[in-house]
């Protein structure tokens, strides 16, 4: 198996700092802006962004968790249904600017489902998309991110693996892996 590190712990920190600055540039003091993390894998990035934003702005940021399982377009088309995660949005999104946050943007289908799930909570004024990794040239739908950590050229056989500091790993790292043909 081929494995290439695309994010080390240091690079991830720097990237999140830069994404924070970009978001502040667009959204000022976040008075009318909220963040929605896509369950389950957008959560780590959204929580880091929230911490970093709060350090910079000095006020609490609204962060909600959005599960898209029931809005996916591949239900009954994949072998096993996916397990649903918690949706928890303790604020109104009506007339707010919403930033959707996910780890990897690939086909765009998750983001489509997320927009569908999101509007069941109200009508936002505007919606943006922030992702850590944008897999280029792989989109099935016309969806593009507004804030990107890194653009990566990939092919379908490759996968992105995210390892986070905590009980399983010593440090954060993100890998691009490819199964080699035996």
């Amino acid at each position: 198996m081929n494995r290439r590190k695309i994010f080390s712990s240091e690079l991830l920190d720097i990237t999140i700092q830069r994404m924070t600055q970009q978001l502040i540039e667009n959204h000022g003091d976040f008075e009318d802006t909220v963040i929605l993390a896509l369950q389950p894998r957008g959560v780590f990035l959204a929580e880091r962004l929230k911490t970093c934003l709060e350090e910079n702005i000095g006020r609490p940021i609204n962060l909600g968790y959005l599960d898209i399982t029931f809005h996916r377009d591949d239900f009954r088309r994949r072998e096993k249904p996916l397990q649903a995660n918690t949706t928890h949005i303790p604020f109104l999104i009506e007339n707010k600017k919403v930033i959707l946050v996910d780890d990897v943007l690939y086909t765009g289908r998750s983001v489509r489902a997320a927009m569908d799930a999101m509007i069941t909570f109200g009508r936002p004024q505007a919606v943006e998309l922030a992702v850590l990794i944008d897999r280029k040239y792989t989109r099935d739908l016309p969806i593009e991110p507004n804030v990107v950590g890194q653009h990566v050229n990939t092919v379908a056989s490759q996968r992105i693996e995210v390892e986070l500091k905590g009980k399983d790993y010593q440090e954060d790292s993100i890998w691009l892996t490819e199964k080699t043909q035996d």
């Binding site: 809005h71 009954r76 649903a84 949706t87 069941t120």
Partner: protein
């Protein structure tokens, strides 16, 4: 684990404890969905469900229909009262006719125990048992145990007593299976004539004295006296039943602990349960009804996923 071990929900007896936990975890999410401003998700939009009711029902049928509609399924309703069943059509013919109209799932209530099991051997669609005679009523047991879990945090280790007409109750049998699989202790309490013979063989305690049973349990699930199924006289009069087995506020206040009161509905007020208890804070009867929709959404969603 994100898939049920079965493609039909015929009874709790066939489910594994993992199935029960998966249904609960999924129902948690659906409970959040039905409290949103827009209470609908598109998951089952390419599925048609037939609600086939050969026996009367308001709560269960309404609850299933709402669950189906909130999952965006197409729904057709059928009740035996004004159908060709009256002209002598067999169960299998009736259902096969419905299925030829391209129906994917059948929710069925029938007066004969085992009717959905029979059907599952002959047709392709997913079948959900919405009550078969005096046998099982799996979704009721799921919503009862889900409500206990929600109220007390967990079902394992809790003491649950089922009161009243156990012998005619499909709710009782399904509840006993579900509670035992989830690790609860179960007791049944009622007049001897309304307790099944050999009920101990299911691993439940038997108590004839209401006060002792209430003193023992954390949760009291009070079942309805099913007069429509009682062809014999099982007790002298409703008044006497209520005197000895009815649960009222005075009785609960005389205990030195608080217990959770449940009832699957419809309540015979003043018979098995007094209004001062049914409408008190100890009762979670209306929570049970709310949870019923979420639990049924979870069951339909998981079965539809399994049938792909």
């Amino acid at each position: 684990m994100s898939q049920l071990s079965t493609k039909h929900l015929l009874g709790i007896k066939d489910l594994t404890p993992e199935d029960l936990h998966l249904i609960f975890q999924t129902a948690d999410q659906f409970k959040e969905v039905i409290n949103r401003p827009i209470k609908k998700v598109p998951s089952l939009r390419d599925i048609t469900i037939a609600n086939v009711f050969f026996e009367n029902s308001t709560r269960t049928r309404l609850s299933f229909e709402l669950a189906e509609k909130r999952l965006s399924a197409d729904v057709v309703n059928f009740s035996a009262g004004n159908s060709s069943v009256k002209k002598g059509e067999t169960l299998l013919d009736t259902v096969n006719n419905i299925l030829s109209m391209k129906v994917d799932m059948v929710v069925m209530r029938h007066a004969s125990p085992g009717a959905p099991h029979f059907l599952s051997k002959h047709i392709d669609a997913n079948i959900v048992n919405a009550g078969d005679g005096t046998h099982e009523h799996p979704t009721q047991a799921l919503l009862d145990t889900f409500s206990i879990r929600e109220k007390l945090g967990d079902v394992a280790g809790k003491k649950v007593c089922l009161f009243g007409d156990i012998v005619h109750s499909r709710v009782a049998l399904s509840n006993i299976f579900a509670l035992k699989k989830l690790g609860a202790e179960v007791m049944v309490c009622g007049p001897k004539t309304l307790l099944p013979k050999y009920v101990e063989s299911l691993g439940v305690k038997v108590e004839l004295d209401v006060r002792k049973a209430l003193q023992w349990c954390d949760v009291a699930n009070v079942l309805r006296i099913q007069l429509e199924r009682q062809q014999l006289k099982y007790f002298p009069s409703l008044r006497e039943y209520s005197q000895y087995y009815g649960i009222n506020k005075g009785l609960l206040d005389s205990l030195d602990k608080e217990i959770v009161i449940m009832h699957p509905g419809p309540i015979n007020r003043g018979v098995e349960l007094n209004s001062d208890v049914a409408d008190s804070d100890a009762a979670i009867i209306l929570d049970q009804v709310e949870n019923g929709v979420a639990v049924r959404m979870a069951v339909l969603y998981l079965l539809a996923g399994a049938g792909a």
